[in-house]
């Protein structure tokens, strides 16, 4: 019943090829996006008011518009302004910009959730502002933000499939070609679904371990 030749000779090589491209999108996008999110989140929490307003507007815009629209803008519309991308670059750029906006939201929330009294206590002990942020605010904010930021990475894994919209040949793109050639949509996309499930499950598992590792009794459930 199951056509093993189709799977082993046609589908799986194509999907594995696509998987590499997907990973090449997901990994840099989540790392750079997270870094950008931290910077943006700090600016939105502690920056001067003009920077805060700018950051808030950027975040509201990128969170209010579907990623699909952002991708189309980057790939099809920016060339109008003289900015050209090939599909991979367009997808990666969009992912980084979008995910950094979401990440900044979690980072900002975590930074603002640190109780003012602890900052005072640190100052009363003679900590400088920089030391207070480094040793008191950041370790707590990082733990607070970890679940949401991890969740965002899981989302990014799934939404990386949108790169297909700008003809980037990642997991989804490769699958669509095989499916259209053979017209075996059900098998192909069931297999692709399993690929994504595997990625998401592994990522969630790693993130859970990370949370577990940094867990402090009674901290975080406010």
């Amino acid at each position: 019943m199951i056509d093993t030749a189709f799977f082993s000779l046609e589908l799986l090589p194509a999907l594995n090829r696509g998987l590499l491209v997907s990973l090449a999108l997901i990994i840099p996008a989540s790392v750079i996006g997270f870094g950008g999110g931290i910077a943006l989140g700090c600016a939105r929490a502690f920056g001067p008011s003009w920077l805060r307003r700018l950051g808030n507007a950027y975040t509201a815009l990128l969170r209010g518009v579907p990623l699909a629209v952002q991708l189309m803008m980057t790939y099809y519309a920016l060339p109008k302004l003289g900015i050209y991308f090939e599909p991979y670059g367009a997808a990666l750029t969009s992912f980084i910009l979008c995910t950094s906006a979401y990440q900044s939201e979690y980072v900002r929330g975590a930074l603002l959730s640190i109780r003012q009294g602890q900052i005072r206590a640190a100052q009363a002990l003679g900590f400088t502002t920089f030391q207070t942020i480094l040793w008191i605010v950041v370790p707590q904010a990082a733990r607070r933000a970890l679940p949401s930021c991890g969740n965002e990475i899981v989302y990014l894994i799934k939404y990386s499939s949108l790169a297909y919209l700008v003809t980037c040949m990642e997991l989804m793109g490769e699958a669509k070609v095989v499916a259209s050639d053979t017209f075996r949509f059900t098998e192909v996309f069931l297999a692709v679904g399993l690929y994504y499930l595997a990625m998401v499950t592994v990522a969630s598992w790693i993130l859970n371990r990370l949370e577990e590792h940094y867990r402090i009794p009674g901290f975080g459930n406010h």
Binding site: L125, G126, W135, Q140, G218
Partner: protein, 257 residues
């Protein structure tokens, strides 16, 4: 009570306003080594703001602060940090660092501010925790401690810095009644060891027994000061005594409810 005559901390004419609202007006005091000054007064009198302004957590608008005769330059951040290192602070709501165990709470300032090594700091932290009776709780996190234990960790944290004076901002007012005693007994021990302290409190029995001087604050001014004997004597007719009688009445009423 006083074991020396040297003045450790001197605060002169501190004034502070928030917007148009005057919070502190010309608050001054000299604290000699080994003395225990007690600030009392109705809530909103400015006791807490006064304590916070002494180590510039609430920067005063004007006035001078001298530690062992040397004036503090508030605009110099380095000098301010060095000053705060020598002036301990105990908060009403403890303000332990939630992400650090009791031991780490005490050790972190030793390591990051005083530059002590990890092991030496941990060792010192354990000593201070033992001093407040928490040797066995060193590995627990703030969320696992009772209120009284939290406040004792906070005291150990301040003591570890070898402060010249400790400011205590109503250290027992956020505690359940049955936990007040353990914290007060730690403070009593400190006083017996000759620690210099300034404490805001509503615990009148405690103040009467231990204070070298009581300062009564109202509407941002220190309106009366003197020894507990002088201020609280029957028929002294002081505002302090008035206030304390009312406080006791309320306590008695609450006790009957």
């Amino acid at each position: 009570m006083t074991s020396g005559i040297e003045i450790v901390l001197s605060v002169r004419n501190i004034c502070k306003s928030f917007g148009a609202k005057r919070i502190l007006t010309d608050c001054s005091m000299d604290v000699k080594r080994g003395e225990m000054k007690v600030l009392i007064g109705p809530s909103g009198a400015g006791k807490s703001t006064f304590l916070h302004s002494i180590n510039c957590l609430v920067p005063p608008d004007s006035g001078d602060i001298l530690l062992e005769g040397r004036p503090l330059d508030r605009s110099n951040k380095k000098a301010l940090c060095a000053f705060r290192m020598q002036v301990g602070m105990i908060f009403q709501d403890f303000n332990l660092f939630d992400h650090l165990s009791a031991r780490e709470n005490v050790a972190i300032a030793l390591r990051k501010v005083r530059g002590m090594g990890r092991d030496a700091a941990a060792h010192r932290a354990d000593e201070e925790l033992a001093r407040v009776g928490l040797a066995r709780q060193a590995a627990l996190y703030p969320a696992q401690l009772s209120g009284g234990q939290k406040q004792r960790v906070a005291i150990a944290r301040a003591l570890a810095m070898d402060p010249k004076v400790i400011l205590l901002d109503e250290p027992t007012s956020a505690l359940d009644p049955e936990l007040v005693g353990e914290v007060l007994s730690v403070i009593r021990d400190l006083a017996a060891d000759g620690m210099t302290m300034i404490m805001a409190t509503h615990q009148m029995d405690f103040a009467r027994a231990l204070a070298s001087e009581i300062l009564f604050m109202e509407k941002g001014r220190i309106i009366e000061r003197g020894t507990p004997e002088a201020l609280l004597a029957d028929g002294s007719g002081t505002r302090t005594r008035d206030f304390c009688t009312r406080l006791l009445d309320m306590g008695a009423q609450a006790g009957h409810d």
